[in-house]
Symmetry: D2
Subunit: 343 residues, 4 copies
Amino acid sequence: MNEKLKITIFGGSGYGGSELLRILLFHPNAEIVLVTANEHAGKAVGEVHKNLFGLTDLRFSVAPDDLSTLDTDVAFFALPHGQALNLIPQLPANVKAIDLSGDFRINDADIFKEFYKLEHTALDLQKQFVYGLTETNCELVKAANYIANPGCFATATLLALAPMVKSGLLTGKIIVDAKTGSSGSGAKAAANTHHPQRMNSFYAYKPFTHQHVPEIEQHLKEVGEFTSDFVFMTHSLPVSRGIFASCYMETTVNLTNEDAQNIFKDFYKDAFFVRVVEGSPDINWVKTTNFCDLAAHSNGKQIAVFSALDNLVKGAAGQAVQNMNLMCGLEETTGLMLVGTNP
Amino acid sequence: MNEKLKITIFGGSGYGGSELLRILLFHPNAEIVLVTANEHAGKAVGEVHKNLFGLTDLRFSVAPDDLSTLDTDVAFFALPHGQALNLIPQLPANVKAIDLSGDFRINDADIFKEFYKLEHTALDLQKQFVYGLTETNCELVKAANYIANPGCFATATLLALAPMVKSGLLTGKIIVDAKTGSSGSGAKAAANTHHPQRMNSFYAYKPFTHQHVPEIEQHLKEVGEFTSDFVFMTHSLPVSRGIFASCYMETTVNLTNEDAQNIFKDFYKDAFFVRVVEGSPDINWVKTTNFCDLAAHSNGKQIAVFSALDNLVKGAAGQAVQNMNLMCGLEETTGLMLVGTNP
Amino acid sequence: MNEKLKITIFGGSGYGGSELLRILLFHPNAEIVLVTANEHAGKAVGEVHKNLFGLTDLRFSVAPDDLSTLDTDVAFFALPHGQALNLIPQLPANVKAIDLSGDFRINDADIFKEFYKLEHTALDLQKQFVYGLTETNCELVKAANYIANPGCFATATLLALAPMVKSGLLTGKIIVDAKTGSSGSGAKAAANTHHPQRMNSFYAYKPFTHQHVPEIEQHLKEVGEFTSDFVFMTHSLPVSRGIFASCYMETTVNLTNEDAQNIFKDFYKDAFFVRVVEGSPDINWVKTTNFCDLAAHSNGKQIAVFSALDNLVKGAAGQAVQNMNLMCGLEETTGLMLVGTNP
Amino acid sequence: MNEKLKITIFGGSGYGGSELLRILLFHPNAEIVLVTANEHAGKAVGEVHKNLFGLTDLRFSVAPDDLSTLDTDVAFFALPHGQALNLIPQLPANVKAIDLSGDFRINDADIFKEFYKLEHTALDLQKQFVYGLTETNCELVKAANYIANPGCFATATLLALAPMVKSGLLTGKIIVDAKTGSSGSGAKAAANTHHPQRMNSFYAYKPFTHQHVPEIEQHLKEVGEFTSDFVFMTHSLPVSRGIFASCYMETTVNLTNEDAQNIFKDFYKDAFFVRVVEGSPDINWVKTTNFCDLAAHSNGKQIAVFSALDNLVKGAAGQAVQNMNLMCGLEETTGLMLVGTNP
């Protein structure tokens, strides 16, 4: 590939945008031609994201009024829910789009409305979107023009559940106890991320009603026979980055620990960014990286699977670039060798 | 009561001992006559627990060789597992004992051995111990001479499960996803509490095998009809203090949220130290206090109960003093008005 | 004293108000008759400050329009700068007032205007205010009707500098490198207290221009001969509570470490809430308490004094109550035995 | 360059070794041929540094008994103080050595003994060492065979002081108030890095006696005319990574803020890894990177310079690789584009 892909990022000032910039500025096959951030238009990227100071001369722009003439190969949308819904239909046909919001993840207009409190105004276009959980949808992603990039909780949960659902061994309900770091709430200060309180805090929120539930259920039905009751509970962790999901299932037959681990090792044998680990994953080992670490344990028929990832990378910008790589015929790992640190 | 209770604390240098000292030094009906800490013998308490500097002239002593002449009314044991087992049988008959370790919690010698890797050498004495979950065992505690003070995870879990088990409405398995702060690992530095790593960490440990499982199951059978499968999973949180348990159950009948909350409000209507809250409890609001905060949610037949407490207070030293108060005919809250802070 | 003091708190919803409530609700000689918080008027105190849930039935009120008939013995003002300036002049003459803001700390109207960007509209009343650094101004406080409660940074700094200034041994400039926890920014969420960033953050702010500089200089001139150049620098720490000030001075004569410590031990021999410690103080040991811990070190003529306190207690609400106790003829420590914790 | 440099790392299991591995495993001109860690010999690198799991098949080895036949181009020593002293003299003459410990930083044997409590047994070899503060010693580093890599505190302090010392404008004493994250204490758990206490902690340590003082003073004399009294104070921050130094100086002439900033912009105009920023640097923006961020402020003749870096990268492993790059004729930034993150 001798020419670089021309990249546009809509919504460059939030944490999703911040991480897209961190990755794509150093991606060998990408060149960012436009990054929008209306409130910061004109400012240097390195002035807003001070980690990037000295590393780029790029500046934020206002979003163009007319997208139909946008000269770009790939457009990323890292905007609040409801905005990509209006923008992506305006893109020229040759532009590949990757949406990090929930706007195009849900097939069913009623369910979308129930969870996002919005009418879906682009249902035909939605049908062309591929759900970008790269590891389970690899071939569809390669052929896609439009990607609905999975939610952070959904990614952690689906990577833990998909091998078990695929195995056909499950019975009874599935319970997922999921926890997220504070960056999951976005870059704007708010009461629930006020440092004096949050640093000593752990609590549950949105019991039974988190908006990632329908995309998880929808995709599990694509992965295998899925009819289980599904209980999904979200909690807030006093760390900056990271999601940890503890997933409780039951199997129809007895499994040893090794059996359980092997189901995962087998399912992910070609997946560079999924690591099956001993004992427990730890968000410490995946923070700032595109890895999802998994471990499975069995107590006979009771199975626990633990999943850890960085909500902003494998749970957002990293997976988005992973999808871009596949859509554009690049090696999956290009630009994504984001090495974690100890400590 | 014109005379103060004479108090001995065995094991005053750990976090359990530290919190017993914080509470009992200011308890209006208590006077600490002896506090042991072999490695710190001779040192001022305020030199080891620097929070207490300027507040007491007490010094640590070596444990006496002969306990049979101990002149004390109440003896607290805040020692590593396996030590109270040898010491409590030596006490004079008139000394009330409260053990914060697991040594006397388990009725069944085989189960004790399986989880604690120790032969139980005082089985007859064990039969005289009352399990000191104050809210469920109030009357037995009042009459007791020996208290097995519940584990921190067990307290958080049992306070969340007892009302539901008692209600007779449960069916199917119970799953408890529990998380603890780093002080649960004790006062000695160790790899899993090394700050550079722990501060960004969240992970699971001891899957399916935590030693608090048997005391939880044993006490639930005392509370009501309990035959459920029970899955208990422990995780490490990057905070200093606090336990949060998310408990998943199923009922035979549909419950509204309000129904679920009312089960708890009713069960704990006389329990000063259990607060039924809206939404979710948060360890931030219970840290350093003797409160356990609970909230129940229902999604029809799927029930989630959240429980938060301070592992060193309601999960250890605070509950121990609460038990002492009842055993000695004092008001339950005496010396325990430990007011939390915002933030 | 058989009757309780009637207490009014203006501004009960911020962190200063939160801590006043925590202390005064359990103060044996105080009864809160009114606590204002316009945005929360009508709400239960325990709904806003969830640490107090179950501990009080008090509710927030709107501030009364007419203060001239306020039936209270002591009024605390925990309002943003500029509000007490208008309210305190309206109080009946028999009401003692303690202002936690900077409105009445500065004697010089020009300096006040320079640092607070406000015209001072109550200069005559200001002359009746006593600067409430309890340890240095004890006798004046006892006789005062109006207290300007010192700033948090000012308290930590002045307690470290006063004994040295008083000693008459200083020469050359004084440099104070001060650090505060995030609760110093108040209860409202803001960019600089956004958890995802703040938890890994340390930075300086307001170089050379912090508004506590003039009150420090003004009070040092009351304490002794003070003509030094004074450099004061503020930094932000990623903890919730605590101030740590490192104070660098030079003496005209050589001092040993012991000499330096003795200056402090002597100066504070009657001060219960100042502890002179070995090595270094640590905010961990003073958090949630009314203590200021100090340590002095000498390298010949170069002196370093370290000072640690809780910005919301000794640096605000705790010192305010300490002042109230003295003004009202109570024991200085009444209601202030707020025992710290380990950990 | 068609062949890769053969690299040996002595001491691969600590945090210095961890970061050397993170960087050198992905350095385009380096191949790690040996990494030692006696206690982990035989184990996979990715088992000890779990961030590297899946990224390398490298295993730890025991250190060879005989170094004289070591087949390597560059040897890094990330060992406790006192060990490189014995090992580096055994290396073949053609091996370039970079020592991250303090063993070869100090020219004066008496001072070395005073601060490191060790006899220096390789004084002749020490004379061949270049002090590897890359930005001030660039030309000497290029020609060096042996590098004494600066201490983390020394790097932060010297980068802040060197431009001012070089300017010739200083008068009077210099005071440096320095703060470090917990990873500065190394990978082994210890009381001062025990999470329950450290997370709420800030304290000073080693007042006036830190072992980085002599290397700072020694190098400032190489940079310019340096005769100032120098007060250096170290403190512990409750973050994992990062050093922040607040440096207080006085100039003989009045400087504006802009004058002060310009001294730094000019001095570092060719230094990629030093960024002169507005306001204050923040450890949040340099963590995991090789950048040192600086800001200078003036209040007339009182100057404050703030310096922030990652103690394990620019303060250790990153600077070591930066030195290797120069010693081996590579571009200074090769393998060091470690991009920070927001948040």
